[in-house]
């Protein structure tokens, strides 16, 4: 690791202001992604702002009947919360399908949302990577791309977002609450939070420099059957090849978000009219613009079959 200075944040607004003051500063929450990347010198912050002391570890009902999840609620606690299990089951399921018990005990809501890609070339500092080193090129385009994106990608980057939790949050229409270095706050709809790579794959979210996440808010429960299905190379403790988060109503209508296929959780609201007609019609619409590589074309078929299984489970 490169040397860095360290401070403990005293309030969310102060954390944001401190991050803007210090060039090269980063927040650290669970540390399970940031420290991993710092050891490999993929991330090289000069200053760490430890936010663990901020009292953002609570889940509370919102006046509208939804749920406000503090940025520091650990993945284990979020998945185990009775309200989440009862009303937002797809979120519990997505969290429990990710990482390991040890990691979920540390990983936070905000840190999970901001975890970086698992593209093998992003991790290999000897290889060009536009995300790690803007302008250096993308090694994955002509390389090993089995794990990578099939839709929404660009000539600059074909990486996927690895978060399971984010896929469920996308299906649930969550809102990310933040405070900026000047003290102003805003809510960013999850649909606008993660960006497509375009020409700037190193810019991954709508967050501005220093902007700090305080909470993630869920709207009132949508009802229906909640299913998260993750297809991976091992039965446990592996990232998704493809995952499906779905909330399906009795009448067969529903919402569907996909993981493992794009630079952000992939949901196409306009395609959801096809959900009652079944997996084939729905997936054809959701992945209408897919451009897989020869190594990951299987993901398109896999996504359709995974959705088929999800819809069967939701009916059953």
């Amino acid at each position: 690791m490169k040397p860095f200075t360290y401070e403990r944040a005293t309030s969310p607004a102060e954390a944001a202001a401190a991050a803007a003051r210090r060039p090269g500063a980063k927040f650290i929450a669970g540390g399970t992604n940031l420290l991993d990347l710092m050891k490999l010198q993929i991330e090289t912050p000069a200053h760490l702002i430890d936010v663990n002391g901020l009292a953002l570890d609570k889940l509370e009902p919102t006046p509208e009947g939804g749920l406000r999840i503090g940025a520091l609620v650990r993945n284990t606690d979020l998945a185990a919360d009775q309200r989440v299990r009862r009303d937002y089951g797809v979120l519990s399921r997505a969290l429990l399908a990710g990482a390991s018990g040890q990691l979920r005990n540390k990983a936070t809501t905000a840190g999970n949302l901001l975890q970086r890609t698992r593209c093998p070339y992003f991790y290999d500092t000897n290889q060009p990577c536009n995300k790690r080193q803007p302008g250096s090129g993308c090694s994955a385009l002509g390389g090993f791309s089995r794990q990578l994106a099939v839709v929404g990608h660009s000539e600059a980057c074909i990486a996927t977002n690895p978060s399971d939790m984010a896929v469920a949050l996308r299906a649930l229409d969550a809102v990310v609450e933040t405070v900026k270095p000047d003290g102003t706050t805003r809510g960013i709809p999850i649909a606008e939070f993660h960006r497509l790579p375009g020409d700037t794959p190193h810019i991954e979210t709508a967050l501005e420099p220093g902007e700090f996440i305080t909470a993630v808010t869920l709207p009132p429960p949508a009802g229906g059957r909640h299913v998260y299905r993750k297809v991976r190379d091992r039965a446990s403790y592996a990232f998704a090849l493809v995952s499906v988060a779905a909330v399906v109503q009795r009448d067969g209508t529903g919402r569907v978000a996909l993981g493992g296929v794009a630079h952000r959780p992939w949901r196409v609201e306009a395609a959801e009219a096809e959900v009652p007609r079944g997996a084939r019609a729905a997936m054809a619409a959701i992945l209408a613009n897919a451009r897989p590589t020869h190594e990951n074309a299987f993901k398109v078929t896999l996504a359709e079959r995974a959705l088929h299984a999800v819809l069967a489970e939701a009916r059953g």
Binding site: M1, P3, F4, T5, Y6, I28, G30, G31, T32, L35, D36, K39, L48, D50, N52, T76, A79, A80, R85, R86, G89, S92, R93, L96, A97, A99, S100, G101, Q102, L103, N105, K106, S236, Y237
Partner: protein
């Protein structure tokens, strides 16, 4: 940077480079070498310790982030002449070969039984709104963050199952 935390019930004062992981603080500075470094990247579980009663990977956290925390390592669970029931069960069932992953496996399994008791669901829990059971499937899934190169898995599950049954 100066800091202190409690390890196995004893207050320890340290002065460390900010880069020191909790694992390196325990092994290199406090000479508690029971916790092992397998991968140093959160992938193998050999470094599993309990902080505030919860299992975590000590390799993916900084010592400075644990000011004032209560840490339990394998050395705090039991000693050669007074084994923790989980340690005794691992010996009885041959839950290891080379033993490198074992301290992490044992810390993790003690925590797993607590997690099931606390009603925390897992990926294989069939009904999210019911209490999870103490089945072999539950134990396997919850232990998936602890890798054993020697493949002692089935004996590890036997050891954990026996302790679970003793506690039930």
């Amino acid at each position: 940077m100066k800091l202190f935390f409690t390890v196995n019930g004893e207050r320890r004062d340290l002065e460390l480079d900010t880069r020191t992981t909790l694992l390196d603080a325990l092994r290199e500075h406090l000479h508690l070498t029971g916790s092992k470094k397998g991968c140093d990247h959160g992938q193998c579980g050999a470094c599993t310790v309990m902080v505030g009663g919860r299992r975590i990977n000590a390799c993916l956290t900084l010592a400075v982030m644990h000011q004032g925390d209560e840490i339990t390592t394998i050395e705090g669970l039991g000693s050669p002449d007074k084994l923790h029931p989980m340690q005794a069960a691992f010996v009885k069932h041959d839950g290891y070969q080379c033993g490198y992953c074992t301290p992490g496996q044992i810390c993790s399994s003690v925590a797993v039984l607590e997690e099931i008791k606390a009603g925390i669901p897992s990926h294989v829990t069939a009904d999210l709104n019911a209490r999870p059971g103490l089945t072999a499937d539950e134990i396997r899934e919850r232990m998936s963050g602890n890798i054993c190169r020697c493949g002692a898995y089935s004996n590890i599950v036997d050891a954990i199952t026996e302790v679970a049954e003793q506690q039930a």
